[in-house]
Symmetry: C2
DNA sequence: CCTACCGATCGGTAGG
DNA sequence: CCTACCGATCGGTAGG
């Protein structure tokens, strides 16, 4: 939100150069308040919320992971719940931005619905399972702990995210390559993808590309002969 | 375990007859220790663990929901985690029993793989979303709170459950009606089903039959013409 | 952002 | 299974 302002200030304040011993956790004093610590808090919270759940994570855990002391997170966030919301909000915004950019780039070359779905799915897996992506899993599995208002705000972003998929799914449905009611198909497909958080192990078995291939193969019906498109 | 001993004792101690004012929740003294209270605890725990999560539920919540006082759950279970395990264990055993019975009954009449899959899926939705079924959702979404040993024990049951699906899925795969690696297909399909816990609303929209239909339609490829079976 | 601290809650236990 | 209770932890705040 207003981080840009704070960030600018830090550039001015900072001695700019290298040379500070700096203990592990603590940042240099001139980096204080510049928004970086806030980001570190959100990152630490995302990682811990994912691994231990919202209720299983204490604000002390988060503070320690960000190299702070007990009460310091409350300097940046007014409550633990606000931290949770920040994680989810950032997760959704970055996922939307990523998919939007991918779709824009792709549409220039090959506007094939099946290829677009594969792109969306592949990116979705990356957001769910890729390195450093704890935000969306937290969003998916910890929303019980949100307030009603937070839930409403995030539902808007989720709607935006789904809206990116809808035309692609509709096109495939119209071509008879995705069967059944589109709304239910979308929910089932998202479920298949989102559940991968529970079982995917990056160290063994399939790659994210394998997953995307398997998903496309499973959900998208083979084109009926080749006649369907030219009757 | 050794509850039988305590049970006998209570029968002796109890005044046996009627006539006691008794507050709402309490059972009659002669029903004490007969195992019913244990069942009530597990049921209450299942409902609360599902709604608020394991970490978000206190043993006092559970005690109150079962009409007991603060420390009483620990008369039946040695820890909160043991209660969680009991919920999941019962959930898995009853789900396995249900699917096994359904498969046995069905195999007598029509051994059609697609119909069998539809049966499994329909029952799975019932176990996930039907009335009073909080056990499997807890199993699916709270396993983070298990100890390693508990997780191992439950993994065995999960394997048994999956084993019921495997021949059906393999048959469909062999017929070319489920595409891609069977293992990944199974994981994706389970995900699609299990995720319904997050969005299904019994009061509006689709029924469990609608869901099962949509799932079958989405996952199972239309038989290629009708020729595939008689080459 | 640290220090010191508060009130509340929690899992669990003793002792009957 | 109840009563009374303990030690630990937790979210959050004051005051700098």
């Amino acid at each position: 939100m207003d981080q840009t302002v704070a960030r600018t200030r830090s550039v001015i304040t900072a001695p700019a150069a290298a040379k500070r011993p700096r203990g592990r956790p603590r940042k240099t004093p001139d980096e204080r308040d510049d928004g970086n610590r806030r980001v570190e808090l959100v990152n630490a919270a995302a990682r811990l919320f994912r691994r231990k759940g919202f209720d299983g994570t204490s604000t002390r855990d988060i503070a320690a992971a960000a190299g702070m002391h007990n009460g310091s997170p409350f300097y940046h966030f007014k409550s633990k719940g606000a931290l949770l919301y920040a994680v989810m909000d950032e997760g959704m915004r970055s996922a939307i931005a990523r998919q939007t950019a991918a779709l824009e780039a792709a549409t220039q070359s090959s506007p094939d619905a099946c290829a677009l779905l594969r792109l969306l799915i592949r990116n979705h897996f990356d957001v769910l399972l890729g390195p450093g992506s704890d935000f969306i899993p937290v969003m998916l599995y910890e929303s019980r702990s949100l307030t009603t208002r937070q839930r409403t705000l995030l539902a808007k972003l989720q709607g935006d995210y789904e809206a990116l998929w809808q035309p692609v799914l509709k096109a495939l449905s119209k071509k008879g390559r995705i069967k059944g009611p589109v709304k239910l198909a979308r929910l089932l497909i998202f479920g298949a993808l989102n559940w991968s958080v529970q079982w995917f192990d990056a160290r063994k078995g399939a790659s994210l590309d394998d997953l995307a291939d398997a998903a496309i193969t499973l959900f998208v019906q083979a084109p009926s002969s080749t006649r369907q498109s030219q009757p």
